[in-house]
């Protein structure tokens, strides 16, 4: 049998982890915080309720570690939605198949119109997003889209349906740098409830997607859980477990973590488990203490105040002015979004906010010749 994350995953039990995480004491936290090297077991302690009173101490250390590794810089990126067609039912998502919304997939001309707008804002790293509609927005569409835009960007990432290893290899040859694929929740039963239909209902295929990416030799993999579906602490432990497994197995690949919290949207399900701002800060700091090198990414789902303060707490990349609808920047600004963003400030305003805190805003941190050196 091929070794994938599923083998590691099976060694853990959700209820036991939950019991552990909610059972730590103040003394446990103190002893972890006194250590230089934080292990996965220590991470459990740092995301536990017992660690909440130590938040300031964790934040200071996260701040120092992030500065040591990344310097005073924040990377900027922007998402571009290519399509909202989707054959999945995800209870929490605005693009879910059964939602009666107008469906749209961008044409070449529309893609280039969006690109022109995004470039005018200053971006050089782009994240392409789609739903899952394999016939219309399959590998050939994605391949074509990457080829179409690659001369405009140094760095292209995607957040699309999970693909096979060979398909990823094709896209990498075309100029793809990174793939973001969130497990949503590592609770298998809850996952099934929220993904009842479509290809996405296959928990295992999604779980082993980062393995296929690692085997394909991708430069970066983005992980995360969608907070609100299940207990965020246990889901975050599994995410960290996934991260550590991947780092050890696919050691040439870089990793990033995102922290999407469920936001109000056009679907039926609202958050089951609340994650407060304080919780989110605790989690971000815990990740940094666990891993000095992992990239931590913050989207516009979060509020202005929160994003202003989070800059110093361990985050390394941030988006701004995001539109979560295909054509949202220039083609059809009024169409329906996947979810409502919270921080609606302009790119310039975010840039100023970052710079005023003594950080350099980084637009380009890669060169397209590294991923497609044999192309023009």
């Amino acid at each position: 049998m091929q070794n994938t994350f599923r083998n590691t995953f099976d060694k853990y039990d959700w209820d036991t982890l939950e019991h552990d995480i909610y059972g730590f004491s103040e003394a446990d936290v103190k002893s972890v915080l006194a250590k230089d090297k934080i292990t996965l077991d220590d991470f459990k302690v740092l995301i536990s309720p017992a660690a909440t009173p130590f938040l300031e101490q964790m934040a200071q250390r996260s701040h120092e570690l992030t500065k040591k590794r990344f310097g005073n810089t924040i990377q900027m990126y922007i998402p571009m939605y290519l399509s909202n067609e989707c054959q999945n039912i995800c209870t929490y998502c605005g693009f879910s198949m059964t939602n009666k919304i107008p469906r749209k997939t961008l044409s070449d001309a529309e893609i280039l119109k969006e690109v022109a707008h995004i470039k005018s804002l200053g971006y050089d790293h782009i994240l392409l997003v789609t739903g899952e509609a394999n016939r219309t927005v399959g590998v050939s569409y994605l391949k074509h889209a990457i080829a179409l835009i690659r001369k405009h960007f140094s760095n292209i990432s995607i957040e699309v349906q999970p693909l096979d290893q060979e398909e990823y290899e094709t896209l990498i040859t075309e100029g793809l740098y990174a793939v973001l694929v969130y497990q949503e929740t590592y609770h298998e039963a809850t996952y099934k409830i929220h993904h009842p239909k479509g290809k996405k209902s296959n928990f295992n295929y999604r779980l082993d997607t980062p393995d296929r990416l690692g085997k394909a030799g991708i430069h970066k993999i983005g992980l995360g859980a969608l907070f609100g579906l299940e207990d965020w602490r246990v889901d975050s432990f599994y995410t960290a477990l996934h991260l550590k497994y991947l780092q050890k197995t696919y050691w040439k690949t870089k990793y990033s973590i995102s922290f999407p919290r469920l936001r109000p949207h056009q679907g039926e399900v609202q958050p089951k488990v609340e994650m407060t701002d304080k919780d989110l800060v605790q989690l971000i700091c815990a990740y940094r203490l666990l891993d000095e090198d992992v990239e931590l990414s913050m989207s516009t789902r979060e509020s202005e105040t929160f994003r202003n303060h989070i800059i110093k707490l361990g985050i390394t990349s941030i988006s701004a002015e995001s539109k979560t609808n295909p054509g949202g920047y220039a083609v059809e600004p009024q169409s329906l979004e996947q979810f409502e963003i919270s921080d609606e400030r302009s790119t310039d305003a975010i840039k100023d906010m970052i710079q005023s805190q003594g950080y350099e805003v980084v637009w380009k941190d890669w060169d397209r010749s590294y991923v497609n050196s044999n192309l023009e």
Binding site: S31, L33, A34, K35, D36, L55, E56, Q57, A59, Q60, R61, H63, Q247, K248, T249, W251, D277, K278, V281, T305, H309, K312, L313
Partner: protein, 256 residues
């Protein structure tokens, strides 16, 4: 559960591997190795007379619990190493090999490029390959990818007894490795061995420090105890040494 070490098809109770060189005579060698309770002992192919079944060194190592680990010491290229390994397999009836390729006769530092080449080929030929290498984390991952069963990074130049000069890199190797990490070379005192085990090494290999001590038998035993203590401390998790200070300007006050 017993804290044993598994490498390929063998299970070791002792995490101390030893060598056979530099002892003043073979019976002292045997007594020291017995005192160390080591279960894996390297033998330089160049030192044994493989055509002679009553070779003095081999005769002295005929104990049930002792596994012989032929090493390729003396070779300078991958090609020579593969040849030597095949000879050793024939002669000593084992497919285990400690791969050492040091073209430099002075410090005996391992050649990473030849080692990787030889390792890849030996794995394909069905050997259990234990490569002696510099404490180079990337090389360790490359070796892991070609299928070696463990890695043996050095603590300091072989025979130098200087201790773990490479400790920062050993820590990275231990953190990243999916195969056992055995610290080889440079361990000059039981305290060095204990330190390696506390860092999380799976085993250590010690030869010179035992062989050239005034009392090799006592030193063999001392190393045994040090390795056990270090391993026990690693499993028990060391108490923290450093306190992180709390800075004054708060980063989280916006939450309250």
């Amino acid at each position: 559960m017993k804290d044993t070490l598994q490498i390929a098809d063998k299970t070791f109770t002792s995490r101390l591997f030893t060598g056979t060189g530099k002892f003043s005579n073979t019976s002292l060698m045997r007594d020291s190795i017995l005192a160390s309770e080591s279960e894996l002992v390297t033998v330089a192919l160049k030192r044994v007379d493989i055509d002679n079944e009553s070779d003095d060194m081999l005769v002295h190592l005929k104990e049930n619990h002792i596994n012989l680990l032929p090493n390729t010491s003396g070779v300078r290229t991958a090609k020579e190493a593969v040849f030597a390994a095949q000879l050793a397999r024939e002669a000593l009836k084992t497919n285990w090999v400690k791969l050492e390729i040091h073209p430099d006769p002075k410090y005996l530092l391992p050649d990473p490029i030849e080692t990787l080449k030889a390792a890849e080929e030996l794995v394909k030929l069905g050997f259990v390959v234990m490569p002696y290498i510099h404490a180079d984390p990337v090389l360790c991952k490359r070796l892991e990818e070609v299928g070696v069963q463990c890695v043996m990074p050095l603590g300091a130049p072989i025979g130098s007894n200087k201790g773990l000069k490479t400790n920062d890199f050993l820590e990275i190797i231990i953190e990243q490795s999916n195969v056992p990490v055995i610290v080889d070379a440079g361990i000059g005192a039981p305290s060095h061995a204990a330190f390696a085990m506390e860092l999380g090494a799976d085993a250590v290999l010690v030869n010179t420090a035992i062989a050239v001590s005034q009392n090799p038998i006592a030193m063999g035993k001392a190393f045994k105890m040090a390795v056990e203590a270090g391993r026990m401390a690693y499993n028990a998790k060391l108490a923290p040494v450093k306190k992180h200070a709390e800075a004054s300007s708060p980063l989280t006050s916006f939450l309250s």
